[in-house]
């Protein structure tokens, strides 16, 4: 048995922590949290949240070897294992909105069982089988009659402000959460937002008035105004936040990549051939998890995935990711996780010691990576050498399905014509491409797409 590895992100809460042992994730509940945990389980709250799919389920472990060397451990839980941890700055609008609504439903249910959600951080939600679920078992404490909701500001900064910015300013504002992993500052949000939002009563209270009071409320004044709040008042606060979140919307409009599949250069024959070959290659490497880079609206997770393998569909255009997410919800496609991301600027390690939020690369390697219609973008737009592309792919995937696009391809020529270049950076021949990738990979299979000059390779990383 390997030594336990404490998850670096799990250090703030004295009630417990998360650790890994032999590749399995566990949660330790400390003695200090024993009474709250007992109330969570015995009151019926856990059962209700689990039944409604709002919170991740767990099993209590009786294996005492897990407790060895853990002072103050009360219980060890084995939660449902999440195949891929994603972060709020990688979510599209719909994902952040669903995560916000789940958090509020959990907070409301907790009050019904005389508990309170004390931690409303967006990172406490993950997408499990296509659904947003609260994952932090330690986020609850017994409700104390008369007290306000202490996670109120946190909810506004983690959910309401970024959602309102994405809805009213630009959907790309979500990436700002990378700069503010502990929540988007209320005053900054209020400055950026247009004044017309004041006429939405919920936003005016929870963002504008809230921001104003943050900067103008001395502690003494709070003490003099302190009073007991009824449970109904706390419930109404949460309900008003639900109204505010529900009123934020994002209408899908055309973006750079949103109509790619209807405007690309593939014939119908080529499209079908490509889907068949990719599907065959995916099946050959029998992956548990596939990362589809530059996934657009996630089409290949549907058309080239005969075994419904779990796909993380990563795309830089948040409009395409939104389309993908809505389609997943509509069709009940629980095996697809759409995410906003760009492999040329992958999510970095963030937070304390740069390890609280894992970088995209450190969340790999995936069993299989799809790089379809991608390398010419990396070489021409990002000035990467093919050797660098090969090296990056080796880091992130055990197998890689890569599409070689010849130099005279219409898309390559279109990209080159829009740039001033002394030399063509994408002047690789098929032979050069194969030689470069064979330094780090073994070619398991290769097939030319029908009615096209493009060629697909199934590569396996060399040990």
């Amino acid at each position: 048995m390997q030594q336990l590895q404490r998850v670096a992100a799990s250090f703030r809460d004295p009630g417990g922590f998360v650790f890994r042992q032999d590749g399995v994730v566990y949660r330790c509940i400390n003695n200090v949290y024993a009474e709250d945990y007992a109330h969570l389980m015995s009151s019926g709250l856990y059962a209700k949240l689990a039944d409604e799919g709002l919170m991740i389920t767990h099993e209590e472990q009786n294996d005492h070897t897990l407790f060895s060397g853990m002072d103050g451990a009360h219980k060890i839980l084995k939660p449902v294992q999440i195949p891929f941890i994603s972060y709020p700055y990688e979510w599209c609008f719909g994902q952040l909105k669903d995560a916000a609504l789940v958090t509020l439903k959990v907070a409301k249910s907790a009050l019904d069982f005389d508990m309170v959600l004390k931690d409303a951080a967006n990172r406490n939600v993950q997408f499990v089988n296509g659904k947003a679920q609260h994952i932090d078992t330690l986020s609850f404490e017994r409700y104390s009659e008369g007290s306000p909701w202490l996670a109120y500001r946190q909810f506004c900064e983690h959910f309401l402000v970024p959602l309102t910015l994405m809805s009213n300013v630009d959907v790309r504002c979500n990436s700002w959460l990378m700069s503010f992993p502990d929540g988007f500052p209320l005053d900054l949000g209020a400055k950026i937002l247009n004044l017309r939002q004041v006429f939405n009563p919920w936003l005016a209270i929870h963002i504008y008035m809230h921001a104003k009071l943050q900067s103008s409320t001395p502690e003494q004044k709070v003490k003099s105004a302190a009073r007991k709040m009824s449970k109904r008042e706390v419930q109404s606060l949460i309900e008003s936040l639900e109204q505010a979140v529900s009123s934020s919307n994002f209408a899908i409009k055309q973006s750079t990549w949103s109509d790619y599949y209807t405007t690309n250069t593939y014939s119908e024959t080529a499209t079908k051939s490509k889907q068949r070959i990719v599907g065959d290659f995916v099946r050959k490497c029998q992956p548990k998890i596939v990362w589809d880079l530059g996934a657009n609206d996630g089409g290949y997770a549907r058309t080239a995935n005969p075994d419904k393998t779990f796909f993380v569909s990563i795309e830089q255009d948040p409009v395409c990711v939104e389309q993908n997410y809505r389609q997943c919800a509509k069709n009940g496609e629980t095996y697809i996780l759409p995410l906003v991301g760009n492999i040329s600027h992958p999510s970095p390690g963030l937070g304390w010691d740069n390890v609280e939020f894992d970088s995209l690369i450190s969340r790999g390697p995936a069993d299989c990576v799809l790089a379809l219609g991608l390398i010419h973008h990396l070489v021409i737009s990002n000035c990467a050498k093919l050797e660098q592309v090969s090296s990056l792919f080796k880091k992130i995937g055990k197998h890689v399905i890569v599409e070689f696009i010849p130099n005279d391809d219409q898309q390559v020529q279109r990209m080159l014509s829009n740039r001033w270049l002394r030399d063509n950076p994408y002047s690789y021949t098929q032979e050069q491409f194969e030689n470069i990738f064979q330094n780090e990979f073994k070619i398991l299979a290769a097939e030319t797409i029908e009615d096209s000059q493009r060629r697909l390779y199934l590569l396996q990383g060399k040990c």
């Binding site: 306000p148 500001r153 209270i205 104003k212 009071l213 709070v222 109904r232």
Partner: protein, 71 residues
């Protein structure tokens, strides 16, 4: 009707609360104090707004029900 009545009620409450807190306070600021204060002063307003909204919706539903349709 629903939205207008809520907005009017809200604007009155909003201006009242803003007038209580001057902009030039320079005291030490605890990041959580504003949130606590807002809950103390606005939770009653929020409860009122939600009740008003529910009442208006109820009245609207009653008048839209078949019993009140003319002809």
């Amino acid at each position: 009707m629903n939205t207008i009545s809520i907005n009017v009620a809200f604007i009155v409450a909003f201006l009242t609360v803003l007038s209580i807190f001057p902009c030039d306070a320079k005291a030490y600021i605890d990041p959580g104090t504003g949130s606590l204060m807002l809950q103390y002063v606005s939770s009653g307003i929020l409860l009122g707004l939600l009740s008003l909204k529910a009442t208006v919706s109820h009245i609207r539903r009653v008048f839209q029900s078949s019993n009140f349709r003319i002809g």
